[in-house]
């Protein structure tokens, strides 16, 4: 794939005329997808896919283009040249963009992670025997993913990784479920079987008769996976500088009313772990670490170069959508072994589901409990709970209601496959909240 990327980018750039610039983004994968239901195979297949996105800049105007990469250089060059010609004509009839960002050459990068992964031919036999006797449902995504970026000034980045993720649920006969997500680069059968065994042990707790909890406010523990989902909301009308400026960010109270979250809450954008490329779709390299919220204070927002130009700020080379790519939340002091005792009476929520802003300016988020969620009484887990809806503000659960933060982080890998396999992860601990509102 890297050869295809190099050949295409070099050939297309050589066709440009004076005063024209192009930024080229490449995204591809050679993937295996196996979908399981009832510990059997529901759907199985392979996908080879690669796409190129072009930004053509000329005459203070910018046009976008894109096409599927077939792997045949002659066809792909023809597609690329046709796109550039189309954009060249279009820049003569669309309005000027006063905030367009011109490419630069700030140096190139190359990162290839080879691994001893799971062979496509071996996947079914590696996964299914361990699941025998349980109601197992989920998806294996397996294989190589590629990202590249180059521009007509000579800057070039390449990122390649070989990975797998088995995202799954185990289900009791009473329809209670436990979530698992076994991901990595090198496949280790023993580690996989041990991981599944731990899921099966959790499933035993789920066989207790579920409790129907009344609506109201409860002391609540959120496991790391649930915290990760809350942090994910910051990427959607939250931490983006553009969304703050455009009046559609839940961070408005922090910016305009000087509201502070809990001093125990700190989050950074952190590329040191290498879960995803450091370069964005304009080929800009983000700082290895950027403090966003520090001890409850909004220290930085994500600022793309376009926002920087539009609002007269300094870019921190965020992606154009100014979303979190590799967030990392700081740990606190609560050991996981002490969690249930610390709850005393209340809720232990492993996962949450279908989050949305119910009042974005107020920071209020609604969603539902899902998977291993329990009622705790007398410092012990009593039973799973029936699904409940919550509706509460992050200004409370990351603010004045935040009691404790776990002393250990968990890496929650991005397993989404919309359009293609996602990269990245959210690294965060669990949190204990004094009062959390269940509404339905």
């Amino acid at each position: 794939m890297e050869k295809v990327f190099n050949n295409l980018s070099e050939s297309l750039f050589s066709d440009l005329k004076q005063g024209e610039d192009v930024i080229l983004s490449f995204s591809g994968e050679n993937s295996q997808f196996i979908r399981f239901n009832n510990a059997s195979v529901r759907q199985t297949g392979l996908v080879d896919d690669a796409e190129i996105e072009l930004k053509f800049i000329s005459n203070r105007r910018i046009c976008g283009g894109g096409f599927t990469v077939s792997g045949n250089l002659e066809i792909d060059l023809k597609r690329g040249r046709e796109e550039i010609n189309r954009m060249r004509l279009e820049t003569k009839e669309i309005p000027e963009d006063p905030f367009l960002v011109l490419p630069t050459n700030a140096g190139s990068s190359h990162e290839v992670k080879n691994s001893n992964g799971l062979n496509f031919e071996d996947s079914v036999d590696a996964i299914l025997p361990t699941m025998s006797g349980v109601d197992f449902v989920g998806i294996l995504a397996n294989g190589k993913t590629f990202r590249g970026n180059a521009n007509s000034l000579g800057q070039k980045h390449w990122f390649e990784t070989d990975s797998y993720s088995l995202d799954y649920s185990l289900v009791t006969p009473g329809h209670q479920m436990v979530k698992g997500s076994f991901s990595g680069t090198d496949w280790n059968q023993n580690e996989y079987e041990a991981y599944v065994e731990r899921s099966k042990q959790k499933l035993v707790l789920m066989e207790r008769k579920p409790i129907k909890v009344k609506t109201g406010d409860y002391k609540t523990w959120f496991e790391s996976a649930a915290v990760s989902d809350f942090l994910g909301m910051f990427s959607w009308n939250g931490i983006s500088e553009a969304s703050l400026r455009q009046g559609c960010s839940g961070f408005g109270k922090m910016r305009h009313n000087d509201i502070r979250l809990s001093p125990k809450f700190s989050i950074i954008e952190d590329f040191k772990a290498g879960f995803c490329p450091k370069f964005n779709s304009d080929g800009e390299i983000a700082p290895e670490s950027l403090a966003l919220i520090e001890n409850g204070y909004l220290k930085n927002t994500l600022v793309s170069s376009r926002s920087a130009k539009e609002y007269d700020l300094t870019s921190n080379f965020a992606e154009a959508g100014e979303y979190l790519r590799s967030p990392n939340m700081s740990v606190g002091n609560l050991n996981h072994e002490d969690v249930v005792k610390s709850i005393g009476e209340g809720l232990f929520l492993s996962n949450i589901h279908y989050l949305n802003w119910s009042d974005n300016p107020g920071g209020r988020i609604t969603g539902l409990t899902r998977y291993a969620c329990f009622w705790v009484e007398g410092g012990e887990i009593v039973a799973p709970i029936e699904t409940m809806r919550f509706d509460d503000s992050f200004y409370r659960f990351f603010g004045d209601q935040l009691l404790e933060v776990e002393d250990t982080q968990t890496v929650n890998p991005e397993v989404g496959t919309y359009g293609g396999r996602s990269l990245g992860a959210t690294t965060c601990p669990g949190i204990l909240v004094d009062s959390f509102s269940l509404t339905l």
Binding site: S40, A50, F67, I139, L355, S358, P361
Partner: protein, 480 residues
């Protein structure tokens, strides 16, 4: 650039001992244009083109999605798909035969009078820029945007048992959006909610004077919302406009009736369903006023088509008749697995994803009440328009929706404007509280380009049309 591919020739060149082979070629081009705050922020066009090779081996389907549409590429893909299917066939959820891909021949073309090229990039930018000016009715509008995305799609399907289908689509998504803000007090008003205005038609839609009038209204309503009272909290009558009914239908009916969900395929992702296989023919889903159809035939609705991605011919069918659940959203595979009657809804987002049960056009059929009749029945309640927030549980029971714009209803009349109108409920009790269905004059056609489901994940286009409806005793509430 669309390559000319002789898909029948590619099919004939495949040499694997499969029980059935199918090729589905998809070409799709998206052309989005967007003006925000007076400057162009998107002028782009991107296409995708590839083939999904599907084979049936020992009762198991296997696939290979590839952009290499050469004869060698497709033959290689077929061999790999065969290998995947053969390995998996020892552990199949269900052992299918050729009847899962019925043979059909035919074609479809979206209805339109003006094609994409009839409106140049420059002309469309001019309209969007002028519409932006109409949105910006006050300095309190801190941001406004106008968006048009045109989508052209071609789908071809051929199979070893004789299917030969060609479908051409021309579609667009359109939005006008204005955000008014005063510090952390922020209100956004759009044209039909979260990309709700999406249709299958041509550039004849773009009557600029109508667009400018709508832009003015949206800008003014955003300003009105800034100073409006919060929606009251309590149990009351709720009147819902079609651009919110759209999502109500989508989340609390459409997804719940997908038969692959009921069969458990989605339990690890989107979730299960409160509906069970034995509920078809017996579950009173809603009041007698409720008539829900799967209707791929409604002209200009976003997800109209003649055949699904498994080649099944698409026809209009009642899913819920006079409140009674009668049919599920199950394509041919789900019909075979469940033994239930279904519909032609086996759909994939593109050539690189395998089809699964999806919604297409799911509509609420009009009733007999005028808009004034519906409002006139309400002593104290709220009228809501345009979705801005949505959430429902994994069984499709407990939902909560937020809308952009509300009006108080007092003694049968619309009175004050309300901001942050929200409501929540549980699916079947909610639909059984349906006590008024608007007539054809209140009927609106909407949809969404962003319905997510499946593993691997797929986003697909769906259409929802509905009249304005009145519900009894709903939990309504406002913002912080």
């Amino acid at each position: 650039m669309k390559l000319d591919v002789d898909i029948k020739k590619l099919l004939s060149a495949i040499d694997v001992p499969a029980d059935w082979v199918g090729l589905r070629e998809v070409y799709e081009a998206h052309t989005p244009r967007m003006i925000r705050d007076g400057v162009p922020v998107v002028n782009a066009s991107a296409s995708t083109h590839g083939i999904m090779v599907e084979v049936l081996v020992n009762g198991q389907f296997g696939y290979f999605g590839t952009p290499d549409m050469s004869s060698e590429g497709i033959s290689r893909a077929a061999k790999k798909a065969y290998q995947q299917a053969e390995i998996a066939s020892k552990h199949s959820v269900y052992s299918f035969n050729e009847s899962a891909r019925p043979a059909h021949k035919g074609s479809f073309s979206s209805p339109y009078t003006k094609d994409r090229k009839s409106l140049s990039a420059g002309n469309l930018n001019d309209i969007l820029l002028e519409a932006y000016g109409h949105l910006k009715v006050s300095d309190k509008i801190v941001s406004a945007s106008t968006l048009c995305q045109v989508i052209e799609s071609n789908f071809k399907f051929v199979s070893s048992n004789g299917s030969d289908i060609n479908q051409d689509f021309l579609m667009f998504e359109f939005d006008l959006s204005a955000t008014a803000a005063d510090g952390s007090n922020q209100q956004t008003r759009t044209f039909g909610g979260m990309r709700g205005t999406c249709r299958q038609m041509g550039m004849e839609y773009f009557d600029k004077y109508e667009i400018f009038a709508n832009a003015n209204r949206i800008g003014e309503q955003a300003i009105e919302l800034l100073d409006a009272e919060n929606c009251p909290t309590g149990e009351m009558d709720l009147v819902i406009a079609p651009d919110q009914m759209m999502l109500q239908i989508h989340e609390s009916i459409g997804h719940a009736l997908e038969v692959d969900r009921i069969l458990g395929d989605e339990r690890n992702y989107a979730g299960w369903s409160f509906v069970k296989l034995e509920d078809f023919g017996s579950l009173k889903y809603g009041s007698d006023l409720m008539n829900i159809t799967f209707d791929p035939t409604l002209e200009s609705e976003y997800a109209s088509y003649a055949f699904d991605d498994g080649g099944l011919k698409a026809t209009k069918e009642f899913l819920i008749k006079d409140g009674l659940l009668v049919r599920g959203l199950g394509g041919q595979e789900s019909q075979i697995r469940s033994g239930l009657d279904g519909v032609a809804n086996f759909r994939a987002s593109s050539w690189n994803r395998a089809p699964i049960d999806r919604m297409a056009n799911i509509n609420l059929e009009p009733g007999s009440s005028s808009f004034d009749d519906l409002i006139g029945q309400v002593e104290h309640g709220v009228y809501v328009e345009s979705n801005k927030s949505w959430s429902i549980d994994d069984y499709r029971n407990k939902f909560q929706f937020g809308c952009e714009y509300g009006r108080l209803i007092e003694k049968g009349k619309l009175t004050k404007v309300l901001k942050n109108p929200n409501y929540r409920g549980v699916s079947t009790p909610f639909w059984n509280s349906l006590k008024g269905v608007g007539d054809g004059d209140t009927f609106g056609i909407y949809g969404t380009p962003n319905c997510g489901k499946g593993e691997p994940n797929q986003v697909i286009r769906v259409g929802h049309a509905s009249p304005t409806c009145l519900f009894d005793k709903i939990q309504v509430f406002g913002g912080v």
